[in-house]
């Protein structure tokens, strides 16, 4: 229903804000994964031996057969290949980087699932599926996914 003219004079728009503290427990598996990046500069994954699938990021159980694989850690390479990507062309305060930047899906050597992360040090015009990239780790402790700072071309 559209407003009648006389109604609109009493329409207000109120500016408001909501500020809520929160935290996220990464869990035992997620913590191990990030700590291996931080302390050993290594990328790891969880492997289902039965289905021969290595999950990166690690998952508690195999998504194919449902078996619990929480302890079956394997090392994967710090290099891999871009299997898909997008170029972020707009700026927003919630985004991790200034536009334009590349968000790639990288299948690491030895992994079977792609890891989504930032690809840097390459012109957006040159990025392509099949491009070989390597992981660049953050220097200090970050304790989030950004412990792996970005990927760059090999």
């Amino acid at each position: 229903m559209t407003c009648k003219c006389e109604d609109i004079k009493d329409c207000f728009v109120i500016e408001a804000r909501m500020a809520l503290p929160n935290q996220y427990f990464v869990g035992r598996i997620g913590s191990k994964w990030i700590i291996a990046m931080r302390d050993k500069k290594k990328l790891t994954g969880l492997k289902c031996d039965k289905c021969n699938i290595t999950y990166v990021p690690p998952r508690e159980h195999c998504n194919k057969c449902g078996a619990t694989i929480a302890d079956n850690w394997v090392d994967v390479g710090t290099t891999g290949e871009i299997v898909n990507f997008t170029i972020v062309n707009y700026n927003d305060k919630h985004l991790p980087k200034k536009a334009p930047y590349i968000l790639g899906q990288i299948k690491l050597d030895g992994a079977d699932t792609p890891l989504t992360h930032i690809v840097a040090d390459v012109d957006p015009a040159d990025v392509h599926v099949g491009m070989k990239v390597k992981a660049v780790f953050a220097e200090g402790p970050v304790n989030t996914l950004m412990q792996l700072d970005h990927f760059e071309p090999v």
């Binding site: 728009v13 804000r17 909501m18 500020a19 913590s31 050993k40 500069k41």
Partner: protein, 389 residues
């Protein structure tokens, strides 16, 4: 002294000055008494004033305190401090009591003190031990093409002088300081160990003068990246669980529409307007477009109050964050339900009561609104309701 969870009550208090956050204690002026019973207990008094904290042990009476925290035994006190025992459980079971302002325990203390942690067990790590194994941590891939010679002059117990040479993709260590060092770092051996095991922050140690750097500053800063991080071999492998903490802040805009808008327009003229159901004659405050019972559109408005009487109220001691600002509210405060003059019996109006009037607030109190000097059509136009009888 009695030890629980690997530490003592005394250590919690002794580390308080170190854990104090002066910048977070602006305007805080409190005295908190602690009375911990049983073996390993005692009495302590914490004074926070002018952004300084003083802790003292007390014999006999604690004297006047803003709040007193009483624990039945040392195990409870330490357990709650370390969050091994839930504070709510201890309070509920009567093993812990808070006399006075409970806000201290829930909101103030965590703000002005860094959380206490059990001191790390002493390990056999020495500066010499760390340096002698430096070759194992060397990363030739990171140091490709790098030629660098740098030295450590480590003073105090367990100290010594060492020269590290990086060249041709190898790393060698020898005792003594060569003359042609690119950079020399001088510090106490204990500081070096602390930096390597992560208990001392390198940048902070340098800033505070604990580390002296002679020579090429950039070379000194670069040394870390030619090596894997040192892993303390003697440290117990405690499981580290990560969590991500953040404050999600979202800007919002709300359109009032013409009915709710009438309310805000009314506020500008210091009027409390309700919409009236044409069928059941209920006064809907704040005004609503539809009567939920009769399912008809409301068309007319009526001014209610401004005076009324209190039907129910919440006197709030628990300090929760104001969701609009994120700031913790001052307690106590009261939210009262008010029957405004002219309102139908099931339709109360809720608002805050003037702070100074809280002692005389009771069900049945007559109240009237106090308005802001210049109402603008916002929820801040009414300051509070004051008691008039």
């Amino acid at each position: 002294m009695a030890e629980f969870f690997g530490t003592t009550v005394a250590d919690i208090f002794n580390t308080m000055p170190k854990r104090f956050k002066p910048e977070a204690s602006k305007g805080v002026d409190v005295v908190i008494g602690y009375d911990c019973g049983g073996e390993g207990g005692g009495k302590w008094k914490l004074t926070v004033k002018d952004q300084a904290a003083r802790i003292e042990t007390v014999e006999g009476d604690l004297g006047p305190c803003t709040a007193t925290i009483i624990a039945s035994d040392a195990e409870t006190f330490i357990g709650v401090t370390l969050q091994k025992i839930g504070a709510i459980d201890a309070l509920s079971q009567g093993k812990m009591k808070v006399i006075g302002d409970t806000r201290m325990l829930m909101t103030l203390l965590p703000q002005i003190f860094v959380q206490y942690t059990v001191p790390a067990k002493k390990t056999e790590v020495t500066a010499r031990g760390i340096l002698s194994a430096i070759g194992e941590r060397f990363r030739p891939d990171k140091a490709a093409g790098v030629t660098l010679k740098y030295g450590y002059d480590l003073t105090g117990e367990g100290g010594g002088q060492f020269t590290i040479t990086i060249a041709n993709g190898t790393c060698t260590l020898k005792e003594g300081l060569d003359a042609d060092l690119a950079v020399k770092m001088t510090m106490e051996a204990a500081t070096y160990v602390g930096m390597m095991t992560g208990t001392i922050d390198g940048a902070a140690a340098f800033t505070s003068g604990k580390v002296r750097i002679d020579g090429d500053m950039m070379a000194a800063a670069a040394t870390g990246k030619y090596f894997d991080k040192y892993v303390d071999p003697n440290a117990e492998e405690a499981e580290e669980l990560l969590s991500l903490k953040k404050i999600t802040s979202i800007n919002q805009r709300f359109a009032t529409g013409p009915v709710m808008g009438k309310w805000f327009a009314g506020l500008r003229e210091k009027k409390l307007l309700a919409s009236v159901c044409p069928v059941c004659r209920r006064t809907l405050i704040l005004p609503q477009e539809i009567c939920q019972f009769c399912h008809v559109r409301t068309k007319e408005y009526v001014e209610l109050g401004p005076e009324g009487y209190v039907t129910n109220f919440d006197l709030v001691y628990f300090a929760s964050p104001d969701p609009l600002s994120g700031e913790v509210r001052d307690t106590p405060y009261a939210c009262a339900w008010i029957m405004l003059e002219g309102a139908t019996p099931e339709d109360a109006f809720a608002f805050e009561i003037k702070k100074e009037d809280l002692p005389k607030l009771k069900i049945g109190s007559r109240v009237r609104p106090t308005w802001a000097e210049k109402p603008t059509g916002s929820f801040r136009d009414i300051l509070y309701f004051e008691i008039i009888d």
